[in-house]
C-alpha cells in the first residue's frame, strides 16, 4: 500500500516530508520539504508538463537486506521500495517518465566511515543504480560530505532548492 500523502490545498503551504516518508503534490501553491537529511537521500521528481511531483526521503539502501515486512509497513524507508512507490504515485498523477526532472540530495557520512558501514555511500550507489535501470537521468545530485541538507521542491515551477548546513542555497 502506498504510504503517500496527496495534497490539493488552495493556499500557499509548506509540507514536511519526514524521515522515511514520501509525499506527492500537484498543488502549485505547495512546497514539499525534507529537512535535516543525513545519510539518507532526498529524491525529488517533478514533471513540468503535468506540474506534479513528489519527494521521497529514504534512509536505507535495500529492503531485501532487512525484513521485507518492514518495507511493507513503510516502503519509503528504503531506496528500492521507496522509489517504486514514488513511480507509482507519479503514474497515478499522469506524470510521464520522459519529462521527469530528478534531483538528489543527502548521503552524508561520518568522518572516516568505513566502506562496510558507510550507509550514505551505499544509499547513493543504490539510488543511482535504480534510476539508471529505469533509464532516468539525474539532473543534479548533491551527495556526500559531513553536513546535513534540506531539500525543497516548489510545485509552482519545479524548482528544487538544496540547502547544506552553513552554506548558501543552491537552486536547480
Amino acid at each position: 500500500m502506498l504510504n503517500a500523502h496527496i495534497s490539493h490545498q488552495p493556499v500557499s503551504v509548506m509540507t514536511a516530508v519526514n524521515f522515511g516518508e514520501l509525499k506527492m503534490s500537484h498543488n502549485p501553491a505547495e512546497t514539499l520539504v525534507a529537512f535535516s537529511i543525513g545519510s539518507g537521500i532526498g529524491v525529488s521528481i517533478y514533471d513540468p508538463i503535468t506540474r506534479c511531483g513528489g519527494l521521497l526521503n529514504f534512509v536505507l539502501p535495500d529492503s531485501s537486506m532487512l525484513s521485507p515486512s518492514k518495507a511493507h509497513i513503510q516502503p519509503s524507508m528504503f531506496a528500492d521500495t521507496g522509489l517504486a512507490a514514488l513511480f507509482d504515485a507519479l503514474s497515478d498523477f499522469g506524470a510521464q517518465r520522459e519529462n521527469f526532472k530528478v534531483v538528489l540530495a543527502g548521503g552524508a557520512q561520518i568522518i572516516d566511515q568505513t566502506a562496510e558501514f558507510n550507509i550514505g555511500h551505499k544509499n547513493h550507489q543504490a539510488i543511482t543504480s535504480l534510476l539508471k535501470a529505469e533509464d532516468l537521468t539525474i539532473q543534479h545530485a548533491d551527495i556526500g560530505g559531513i553536513f546535513l541538507r534540506t531539500l525543497r521542491l516548489d510545485m509552482s515551477n519545479g524548482d528544487t532548492v538544496i540547502q547544506t548546513s552553513g552554506q548558501k542555497e543552491v537552486t536547480v
Binding site: 535535516s36 543525513g38 534512509v59 536505507l60 532487512l66 557520512q109 572516516d112 558501514f117
Partner: protein
Amino acid sequence: MTHVDDIISGIDTLRPIPPVAAQIMVLAEDENSSMADIADLIVHDPSITASILKICNAAHFGLSRQVNSVREAIALLGLDEVIELVLLNATAANFRDEPDGYGLGEGELWQHAVISAHTAKILAENHGFASLKHLIFTAALLKDIGKLIMGRFVAFSYEKINILVHSKGYSFSEAEKEVIGINHEELAARVGQKWCFGDQLIYMMRHHHMADESARGNPETALIYLADIICMMIGFATGVDGLAYRFYSEVLDRMKLTEKDLQNAILNTGYRRQKLDKLLNLV
C-alpha cells in the same frame, strides 16, 4: 580567571538535577542496588510524584484510566518506564533552552537527547547490558549537556571552527578544543563532577565521541557512541556540527555488529521516533 575557567563557570547557570533523580542515577550505577530501592525513592518524593501523575494522566499519554499514585503508574507502565519518566522530567528543563552556536532550534537538543537515550537503552538490552540500561539511558540523555554552555562560545568562534572542520579535516569536537580550549564532551564531564554523578556516568559522558583510544574498549560507552552516530546519520535534531565526528569501525567490530545490525538499529530508531514525539510533548 582563564577563558576555559570562564566557560566552566557557566555550569552554574544550568538548573541542577533534582536530588531524587540524582540518587536514582547513583543507584543505577550500583550493582548492589535493587529496583525496589529505586521505586521507594520515587514513591516518597512529592514533586516527582506530581510530575509523574501529570504526565501519565495527560490525554496524549494514552492510558486507559486515571492514575492516582506512583505505585499505580508503576503497576500500569512498569518500573523501568517510570524511572525513565523521572529521568526525562529531571533533565528536560535545561534542554528546552535553545543553545546558541550549534544551529539547533528550540527543543531540538532535547529531541536528540531523548531519541539517542532510547536508542542506547534498546542497544543495551540487545547486547547483554540490560542490567545497566538506566545508566546507559542517563549517559546518552546527558552526553551533550555541555553544548548548553558551549553554545555561545561556539557561535563566537564558528568561523574558525568551520574552517578547521571543512579544510583541515578536524572533527567538530577537535575543532572546539583547538579554538575554544575545551570541547562539549569535556564540559559534560565537568557538569557531572559538579553535580556529583558517579564515575562511570561521568566517564561515559566524557568519552561519548571516543576520541580517547582507551574508551573504545569500554562496551557501555560504545553503546552511547553508537546511539549518537545513528541519530547523526538519520539527521535527528542535529545542528551545524552535522556528521562531523569520527567513525571508529573497531568499536562496532568489538561489539560484533554487522552492517545489517547497524541498518536494523537505524530502522528501529526511525520507527521509535513517532512514539517518542508524543512523549517529548508531555515531559
